[in-house]
C-alpha cells in the first residue's frame, strides 16, 4: 500500500512538473520581450508598446507583407487599398490609400498597434498619437534596414523567433548572390540603370533601394553618377543616351501607369542605337517587388542578379 501511494505521489509529481514545463515552454516565446516594451522606431521616435498587440493596422503594403510573413495574419484588422500580397491581404478591410489613409477609420478599428511609414510622419502619425494610439514607423533605406525592420516588428509582437528565421533566410539568399558578385572586378560590372519613369525621365540614384540592388547584383549605376541628386533623379534624355547603360531595368505595374517606362525603353526611336536595345538587355520587374521595403526585396535582388549576370545566375 505504501509503495503504491509512493508510486502515485511520484507519478503526480512527475505529471505536475511535466505540465509546468510544457506550459512554460509554450509561453516562452511570448514572454521573451518584457511588456511594456520601450523601442525606438526607424524614424528615431521612442515608442512604448503597451501589451502584446492583438489588433494591428498596417498603413503600408511593405508593412503588411512583413506582418503576414511573421504569421500575424489573424491579428491584422486593417490594411491599405494597395496591400495586395499575399492574396489574403486583399480580404482584409481597408482604411484608405497609402499616402491618404482615413484617420477616422483607423481610429474606429480600435488598434493597439499601427505600423506606419516615413510619409505619414507629418500628417498621419500626430493625430493618431493624440488619440493615445501606439504607432511605430518603419523606414528602411537599405536592405539591412529592411531586415532590422522585420526584427523590430517581431520584437514588439512577440514573434522574435519567426523574425529571426525570416531574417536568416533572407541573409542566406542575399549571400548566395553577393558571394558571386562580390568577386567581380569593376570591368566585370556592366553599367546598369533602373528607370522609374519616362516623362520626365527619372532613374534611381544613390540612396535608393534599387541602387543598392544594382550594386549587390554586380552592376554599376553609372547613369546615376552623372546626377548629383540622390534618390530618384531626373535626367535629360541626352545624358541618358550618352551614358549608354548596358542593362536597363524598368519597374512595371505601378498604379495605373502599367508598363509605360518599359514601353518607352523598348520602342522609343531615339534609343534604337543604344547597347541595351541592340543586345536585348532591357528587363522589367514587378514594381511591387522592387519598390517595397519588405521581405520580397530579396526576390528583387535575385531577379536583378539574373538580369545583370545571366551567366552567373540561372
Amino acid at each position: 500500500m505504501k509503495n503504491a501511494l509512493k508510486k502515485l505521489g511520484a507519478i503526480c509529481l512527475a505529471a505536475a512538473l511535466f505540465a509546468g514545463l510544457v506550459t512554460s515552454c509554450a509561453k516562452a516565446p511570448e514572454s521573451a520581450t518584457p511588456i511594456p516594451a520601450q523601442i525606438t522606431d526607424q524614424l528615431g521616435r521612442a515608442v512604448t508598446v503597451k501589451a502584446s498587440p492583438q489588433r494591428i493596422v498596417s498603413l503600408a503594403p511593405s508593412n503588411t507583407e512583413i506582418l503576414f510573413a511573421l504569421g500575424l495574419s489573424d491579428r491584422i484588422v486593417a490594411v491599405t487599398d494597395y496591400c495586395n500580397y499575399p492574396p489574403e491581404a486583399k480580404t482584409k478591410p481597408s482604411i484608405g490609400g497609402f499616402s491618404t489613409p482615413n484617420i477616422e477609420e483607423v481610429i474606429a478599428k480600435n488598434p493597439d498597434l499601427i505600423l506606419a511609414a516615413d510619409i505619414h510622419k507629418d500628417k498621419v502619425i500626430p493625430p493618431l498619437e493624440a488619440k493615445g494610439l501606439t504607432v511605430i514607423a518603419l523606414n528602411p533605406k537599405t536592405i539591412d534596414e529592411v531586415i532590422t525592420s522585420i526584427e523590430l516588428v517581431g520584437k514588439v509582437t512577440g514573434k522574435e523567433k519567426e523574425a529571426a528565421d525570416l531574417a536568416a533566410n533572407m541573409q542566406k539568399r542575399i549571400k548566395v548572390v553577393t558571394e558571386k558578385t562580390g568577386k567581380l572586378s569593376p570591368e566585370q560590372q556592366p553599367s546598369t540603370c533602373f528607370v522609374v519613369w519616362h516623362d520626365p525621365l527619372m532613374i534611381a540614384n544613390f540612396g535608393t533601394l534599387q541602387d543598392e540592388l544594382i550594386k549587390k547584383a554586380g552592376g554599376s549605376n553609372t547613369v546615376g553618377l552623372l546626377s548629383s541628386k540622390s534618390g530618384y533623379a531626373e535626367i535629360s534624355l541626352e545624358t541618358f543616351l550618352a551614358a549608354n547603360p548596358a542593362v536597363m531595368i524598368a519597374g512595371v505595374g505601378m498604379g495605373t501607369g502599367e508598363d509605360l517606362p518599359l514601353q518607352f525603353l523598348t520602342s522609343e526611336t531615339r534609343l534604337a542605337d543604344t547597347d541595351a536595345r541592340r543586345n536585348n538587355r532591357i528587363y522589367s520587374i514587378d514594381q511591387d517587388l522592387v519598390g517595397r521595403a519588405g521581405p520580397r526585396i530579396v526576390e528583387a535582388l535575385e531577379q536583378f542578379a539574373r538580369f545583370i549576370h545571366p551567366e552567373l545566375f540561372k
Partner: protein
C-alpha cells in the same frame, strides 16, 4: 507757273522708321538662325561646336561630310536637341503673335493668349489624359496632347457661345466670360491635382511647361497650325491697325468688325491651343513679348506681328537653353525661367522709355 513740290514729311520720320523696322526684321531673322545653331550645340552632354555644325550641315542636301562622330552624338543633336529647339521657337513665336493679336483685338494691354480659357481648358484636358487608364494611350506621344487640344478648343467655344450677343461679340463680355470660365475650370483642375495621388508630380510638371522629350513628330503637328494661323493673322495686320480705333469707327471705315474678330480669335486660339497641348502652359511670353516689341519698334501691327514672331521665337529658344543648362542634368520648368528673365528686362525697357506705350 511753278509746280507745287510734293510735300515731304519733316525728317521723313515715317520712311526712316519703316526702314529701321525692315532692317530689324532681317536682322532678327539672321539672329534666329544663329540662335538655333547655338542652341543645338548646347546641352548637358559636351559636344564640340565643330562637330555639331558638321552634323547639321551634313543634313543639308548636296552637302556630304563623312561622319567622324558616333551615331549617338548624331542622335543627340538631330533627334533630341534640334526638334526641341525648333519646337521652342515655334511655340515662342505662336504665343507671342497670339498675345499681340489678343492685345490688338481687345485693345487691352493685359490681354494674353490665355485670356479666354485656353490655358485652363488645355490643363483640364491634359489632367483627364493623365488620369485615364493607359489602355487609351496612343503610342508615340500619348493621349494627353489630343485631350489638351480638345479641352482648349472646347473652353474657347463655350466662352464664345456665352459672350455672343445676337450677331455681335462684345469684347468686354468676352473677357468676362473668359475669366469666369477660367476660374471654374481652374478650380476643377485644382481639385483633380489634389486627388491625383501618385500622378501629381507628372501633372504639375506638365502644367509648368517643358520642352524636354520634344520630338520631330510633335514639331510636324504643331508647325502647320502655327504656320497657317500666323499667316492668317499677318494678312489682317492692317485691319488690326484700324481696329485700334473704336469698333464703331472701324466699322464705318469699312472693316467687317465681327467677321474680323471671329477670324483673328479663331486663328490666335488655334495656334495657342496647338502649342500648349504639347508643351504645357508656358506663361509670360504672350503678354510681355508684344509689349517689348511695341516699346522698341512701335505699335504698327504690320511690323509688330512679324517682329513678335521672331522675338518670341528667339526668346523662347534662349530661355529653353537656360532651362536645361543652369542645373544640368536636371531641368527647370521653362515657365519659371520665362518669368525670371523676362520680367526684369521688360521693367528695364519700361523705365528707359518713360512714356506710355499703349
Amino acid at each position: 507757273m511753278t509746280s507745287n513740290p510734293v510735300p515731304t514729311l519733316p525728317n521723313n520720320t515715317y520712311l526712316s522708321g519703316r526702314r529701321k523696322r525692315i532692317y530689324s526684321l532681317l536682322g532678327l531673322c539672321a539672329a534666329l538662325i544663329v540662335v538655333v545653331a547655338v542652341a543645338t550645340s548646347i546641352g548637358s552632354v559636351k559636344i564640340p561646336l565643330l562637330t555639331t555644325f558638321q552634323i547639321l550641315l551634313d543634313r543639308l542636301p548636296f552637302v556630304d561630310i563623312s561622319p567622324t562622330w558616333q551615331s549617338t552624338i548624331a542622335t543627340i543633336v538631330l533627334e533630341i536637341r534640334l526638334p526641341r529647339v525648333i519646337l521652342a521657337g515655334l511655340v515662342g513665336a505662336a504665343l507671342a503673335i497670339a498675345g499681340a493679336t489678343y492685345q490688338g483685338l481687345f485693345r487691352n494691354p493685359l490681354a494674353d493668349p490665355y485670356l479666354i480659357g485656353v490655358a485652363q481648358g488645355a490643363s483640364l484636358g491634359a489632367i483627364v489624359g493623365f488620369l485615364l487608364p493607359t489602355a487609351w494611350n496612343i503610342p508615340g506621344f500619348g493621349i494627353i496632347p489630343l485631350l489638351a487640344f480638345i479641352g482648349a478648343l472646347l473652353a474657347t467655344v463655350i466662352v464664345y457661345a456665352l459672350a455672343r450677343v445676337g450677331k455681335t461679340l462684345p469684347v468686354t463680355t468676352l473677357i468676362l466670360s473668359g475669366v469666369a470660365l477660367s476660374a471654374l475650370l481652374g478650380s476643377i483642375v485644382s481639385y483633380l491635382i489634389i486627388s491625383s495621388g501618385e500622378k501629381m508630380h507628372g501633372i504639375i510638371f506638365w502644367l509648368m511647361g517643358s520642352f524636354s522629350m520634344s520630338q520631330w513628330s510633335e514639331v510636324r503637328i504643331v508647325l502647320p497650325y502655327v504656320a497657317v494661323g500666323t499667316a492668317v493673322i499677318i494678312i489682317f495686320a492692317r485691319l488690326l491697325n484700324v481696329m485700334q480705333l473704336d469698333e464703331e469707327q472701324a466699322q464705318q471705315l469699312g472693316v467687317n468688325v465681327e467677321r474680323l474678330k471671329l477670324i483673328l480669335l479663331a486663328a490666335a486660339t488655334l495656334i495657342t491651343a496647338a502649342s500648349v497641348s504639347f508643351v504645357g502652359t508656358i506663361g509670360f511670353v504672350g503678354i510681355i513679348i508684344p509689349h517689348a516689341v511695341r516699346l522698341i519698334w512701335g505699335a504698327d501691327h504690320r511690323f509688330l506681328l512679324p517682329l513678335s514672331v521672331l522675338t518670341g521665337a528667339i526668346f523662347m529658344i534662349l530661355t529653353d537653353i537656360a532651362a536645361r543648362t543652369v542645373l544640368a542634368p536636371t531641368e527647370i520648368p521653362i515657365g519659371v525661367i520665362t518669368a525670371i528673365c523676362g520680367a526684369p528686362f521688360f521693367l528695364y525697357l519700361l523705365r528707359r522709355r518713360k512714356k506710355a506705350i499703349f
